[in-house]
Symmetry: C3
Subunit: 293 residues, 3 copies
């Protein structure tokens, strides 16, 4: 037997409207009553593996030692693999479908040190149907690892280099502009971009301009002024580009939803350019431009 | 004192928008700090006893030993009874209102072995109003049972045969057709029917036809082709009839909501018939037919 | 070291769509693995400090000994203070922003006995941005207190009399009428008013009249008949004024949402007057009157 674990950090797209999350926890408690299940979120949009992988990556450096159980799994029941990936010298094991969901978090945790495909029927539930592997495969595997079952008892080792990767969009510079993308819109309407402080030229002033999709005319864009701000209350009445709690820039408003006001959603392109100090933030300037994606 | 319990599995229609669930858990922790509360779901539609009873029945065979606390209780404060029902040789006790909510789960757990009405004021909270029995009656009873209070200390025994039953719709065969009903629509839009593998003739081919309510014309129906599939990814672009994780058939689409696309909701009638192999699934065929409920 | 705590009761406006709540719990478990986090609610409307303070006040007399962690914090990252307030002889400590969120709960718990500003960097996380004090400041402070860190180690004492107060609207009598306000609309559509049994004249009969905002004509009101009832099932088909589980009167319907049917929302004015017994509840009587706020 290898080391025991006490915590299972749990992320899914199951929602809480149904009993899916509760049933997985019931199965875990039955197998490993000493384990605490820590819900990260269960509101990943249904089937959205990319959004789930980004949420898990945002969590991973805060998650305590133990098991990470992540299920966003549109291919459940098909021949996609169920995997368990060991990281950080065995301090953590990530469990989920091999569809890219785990990849960014595994990378941020230092990379896969060992990986197995979960196939051993001794550690699965017998089920009347093949559509709920959280209950029948992933949850039981997490619980058995908590009980000290060694990783390689779950199934045959697989080459970690051949696990499904994830695709995270990278920003790019074009001329004087930085072309970014909205990665995530949070509950408050903050629109996290895929850029951090190192992605903007140091010479840029506090004021900048944003070229955004025109919410009223498909394929057109609008130009909006914005200011860099350290926190929401410092934005004032205009648009802020705020260094968020994960060290990324977010397009934000003070006490209102930037996503609602500006019509932004994950995947939208945001083009940033340096502003001028005689053109302060706040006023909307609309210019029809081809989006040119 | 009788046996102590460590787990309270908890299901309600309280939602999580308010603090109702949290306050019940606070009361439980105050009385029985050693008990772990396991949330099954709290998003049963408000007042919907039938939906709650079905959700509880789906959970019950996965719930660990201990207490099941279930509250969907539109009659709170009236003379409907508060009950505690012992099952499985004392391994489990279900607590809730006597309105049929517990009945299917009790039946699936082997039937009621003992039942009491919860009346003893020593095990209730004194409350300023009569509208929150989860906090004042059911939660405290669950916690006191965890502490080893014997079942019959909660109140007088009642005849389990006289507890309120639940009404689960049964499918029926009419000529060459099987007449089923949507029991449950899950977050992903899968529409669980009240039929399993034993309810369809063994002679039917993989392809079948579904007669569904016409979402655009009240009282009319439409005919759609469908295929039986073992999992969602095997459905393809058409409609699938998938054996779900509870062993029931569900009308499903791959990575989309069947409920949204087909306009299905719980209680809708779905009439299944054998298909022909030269009429493969996917194409919509609309035929005006009287629904004839 | 001072006393250790085992429970952190947790209320926010973070929602559960994102991983915010999960990450705070992950941080707490890392620091104080023995502590149980008890979720009160995380669905306070975004930025709504008043709604959060009312929800916390409704919970506070049921919360077990230990830490109360409350975060509704539109001013995060600005110079608003982070505070910890000791109550009840040290049995409880409330942690959150100094924006009035904690004030009603502190008052109901007997008043602040000691308060500190949380400034000690030893008990905070180093963060890449300043917008998530739940993770970086409040959560760690709660966890360290659970570990026995004394309150005054978190930062300098502050005068509890100078903490930000909350403003709770008081009802008033005008002539024969009682002018009340909707404090809270719950999931079931019950509209809690800011009046209890002591706020209505003892001479009033069971039937009364309610003057409510006209949902169809802004600035106009409508008069509706209502009956006092002890619980929802006793209301019948009309409108009830029900003594709710917190000892306040709520405008309610039986098994339907009063808020939806009557168009009521938090902050709306409800004017109550005695009814007459020959004018029983239920029938809508519309009278255009200036709202006169």
């Amino acid at each position: 037997m290898s080391r025991r674990h006490n915590t299972i950090s749990f992320l899914t797209d199951y929602g809480t409207t149904d009993e899916f999350v509760g049933v997985v926890k019931a199965v875990i408690r039955d197998i490993a009553p000493h384990a605490t299940v820590l819900d990260l979120t269960h509101e990943v949009p249904p089937f959205d593996v990319k959004a789930g992988s980004l949420a898990l990556a945002r969590c991973i450096s805060y998650v305590p030692e133990g098991i990470v159980l992540a299920v966003v799994d549109p291919g459940v029941g098909s021949d996609r693999r169920a995997i368990a990936v060991e990281v950080a010298g065995g301090a953590g094991v990530l469990i989920g479908p091999d569809n890219g969901l785990l990849a960014p978090a595994v990378a941020m945790a230092g990379g896969a040190e060992r990986a197995v495909e979960i196939t051993n029927p001794d550690y699965r539930l017998v089920a009347p149907g093949a559509t709920f592997d959280g209950r029948d495969v992933f949850g039981p595997a997490a619980a058995h690892l908590c009980n000290g079952v060694p990783l390689d008892a779950l199934g045959p080792e697989v080459d970690a280099a051949l696990l499904m990767p994830a695709t995270i969009p990278l920003p790019r510079e074009e001329g004087d502009e930085v072309i970014a993308e909205v990665l995530w819109v949070d509950r408050f309407g903050n629109c996290q971009l895929n850029i951090g402080p190192d992605d903007l030229p140091a010479s840029w002033p506090v004021s900048m301009s944003l070229r955004l999709p025109d919410p009223h005319q498909h394929g057109q864009t609008v130009i909006r002024s914005a200011v860099r701000a350290d926190h929401f209350a410092a934005i004032g009445h205009g648009i802020g580009v705020v260094l968020d709690s994960y060290g990324m820039y977010a397009v934000s408003l003070d006490r209102r939803s930037a996503a609602d006001d500006l019509g932004l959603a994950p995947g939208d392109q945001v083009v940033l350019a340096a502003g001028t100090d005689d053109q302060p933030g706040g006023g909307p300037v609309t210019t029809p431009v081809n989006l040119g994606r």
